[in-house]
């Protein structure tokens, strides 16, 4: 059977600079928890954004469930994106909308023109949104009508996770989801994502730069180095030498 996500020789270059990622090939099976690992600026975010075509690869193909994203029409691509949830380091919530409306944005791929225009969602959508918020660990209903910028970092990420849950995703893309959070809450949020993924049989692709956390939750680690794959395997196979190389520890000292 074909893998859920196929990355075929993908290169992405911004302008005339050196490509952010180069000639990347990956096959991700259903149910995997893949962590893209490496220091910042190594192309993790770019690769992640190629997977839902927020960033269009310069070369190569992304194939999801047999659909080559590059050959899809705009509306078909949006359909595919509906099934791919995404969370971010900075949460990317709309501060001028209530927590609840932010969560309801997860349904935007399916809402009709008139509903969107009048900012009105159906009763079922509201019920799903509240369920999703509870599932993300936000039980306090007094928070639902508040503005997200009045919440703590952990609460904001929970709202973003609830928004993603509304998409009923098959795949979760997570871009450094805990990098802006306090140490205390980092594990809680990782735990939450991992539980959701296991329960709903969702495939996760997550970028991280914390190796300890990566090892703890990932079923597979992909180490990137200078825009290329340096390591690809289970967490147990990740040696110190590779970690040092991926982080360019020895080189960094001489370069600076």
């Amino acid at each position: 059977m074909a893998p859920l996500i196929s990355v075929n020789k993908v290169t992405k270059a911004y302008g005339r600079d050196n490509p952010a990622i180069q000639d990347i090939s990956l096959a991700i099976e259903k149910g995997e928890f893949v962590v893209l690992f490496g220091p910042s600026g190594v192309g993790k975010s770019t690769l992640l954004r190629c997977l839902n075509y927020l960033v269009k690869p310069t070369l190569g193909d992304i194939i999801i469930e047999g659909k080559n994203l590059g050959s899809l029409s705009k509306s078909k691509l949006l359909r595919v994106r509906c099934g791919i949830g995404m969370i971010f380091q900075e949460f990317n919530l709309v501060n001028r909308l209530s927590v609840l409306t932010n969560v309801l944005c997860g349904k935007l791929g399916h809402t009709g023109f008139f509903r969107a225009l009048t900012y009105r969602f159906s009763r079922e959508d509201y019920e799903t949104a509240v369920k999703a918020l509870r599932r993300s660990g936000l039980d306090d209903e007094s928070l639902y009508l508040r503005r997200p910028d009045t919440l703590s970092g952990g609460q904001k990420q929970r709202v973003a996770i609830a928004r993603m849950l509304l998409q009923e995703p098959k795949i979760i893309l997570a871009d450094e989801p805990i990098a802006s959070l306090d140490l205390k809450i980092q594990h809680t949020i990782m735990e939450l994502i991992a539980n959701i993924a296991t329960n709903d049989e969702i495939t996760v692709v997550m970028s991280l730069h914390n190796i300890e956390i990566a090892k703890q939750y990932a079923s597979r680690i992909v180490g990137l180095y200078k825009g290329r794959i340096e390591f690809d395997g289970p967490p147990g196979a990740l040696s110190h030498d590779i970690i040092n190389k991926v982080f360019g520890l020895t080189e960094k000292v001489t370069n600076d």
Binding site: N92, L93, T101, A116
Partner: protein
């Protein structure tokens, strides 16, 4: 030891070089500004002795103006209201044109660079032609009165608001747009749920600022026959009714300062 000391003093020398250079630049800049001012004074016939020798006439002039004519107050009531209406209409009509144009002109929402480029040129044209010039042109087209005034304000304000709206849209957090695109939302939904709520306060504030500004402009538009209190003022001056003219000025100053305060209060509330 001596060697080491020399090295050290040589080590900071570049800092002093930099400081000397900066002082030179500052001095040159100041000289440049003074030079430009003198050039402009020469070109405009700026003449202080003339101002001093003319000052007795100021007293003469003022005595012909004061006190303001009380009987004239009720007579300018209607033109005053007309001016306020001109400003209101000249600010509200443009909103409906400026918003779609801004969405086309902003780099992050426009369909492509060509459209963005041409819409920007259009907005710049509308904005750089002064309202008085628009009014002069339009008085010839639709005749005298407040109507050409409203049209003049509208054209200029579409250009101004369009540009400021577009800047507000471009300042929207790209992360929010990305998140909306990632859920599979169509472009108009990204605009409705991502961009509009984020930009709305800034847009309301700019609109109020333009309303304030349009009230000021609406008073002058009368000078070219485009209605309102400006027209009453122009007639009063043309007929040498200086007491009546001052009445108009008092009303203008009063109304404009009230509007400034109202607008400032409202703007403080939305941000």
């Amino acid at each position: 030891m001596i060697n080491k000391h020399q090295q050290m003093s040589g080590g900071v020398e570049f800092l002093f070089v930099r400081r000397r250079k900066r002082r030179l630049y500052i001095a040159l800049t100041i000289l440049g500004i003074i030079g430009v001012a003198f050039w402009a004074a020469w070109g405009t016939g700026f003449n202080i002795p003339k101002l001093i020798s003319g000052s007795p006439k100021i007293y003469n002039f003022l005595s012909r103006m004061f006190p303001p004519a009380a009987y004239f107050f009720p007579k300018v009531l209607k033109p005053t209201i007309e001016t306020l209406q001109m400003a209101l209409l000249g600010t509200t009509i443009p909103i409906f044109f400026a918003l779609p144009l801004a969405l086309l002109a902003a780099a992050n929402t426009g369909p492509n660079r060509l459209v963005t480029f041409f819409i920007r040129i259009l907005l710049n044209l509308l904005r750089t032609v002064p309202e008085l010039v628009w009014a002069l042109l339009l008085v010839n087209v639709v005749g005298l009165g407040a109507f050409p005034g409203v049209l003049a304000l509208t054209l200029h304000t579409i250009g101004g608001l369009g540009k400021l709206y577009a800047e507000a849209i471009e300042a929207a957090n790209p992360g929010i747009i990305e998140a909306m695109e990632a859920v599979g939302a169509k472009r108009y939904k990204v605009i409705l749920f991502g961009i509009v709520p984020s930009c709305l306060p800034l847009m309301i504030s700019t609109t109020l600022l333009y309303w304030e500004y349009n009230n000021r402009t609406a008073t002058i538009l009368g000078l070219v026959g485009a209605g309102g209190i400006g027209l009453a003022l122009t007639h009063a001056i043309e007929d040498f009714r200086y007491h009546d003219a001052v009445t108009c000025l008092v009303i203008i100053v009063l109304i404009l300062s009230i509007i400034d305060r109202v607008s400032a209060k409202l703007r403080a509330r939305v941000i």
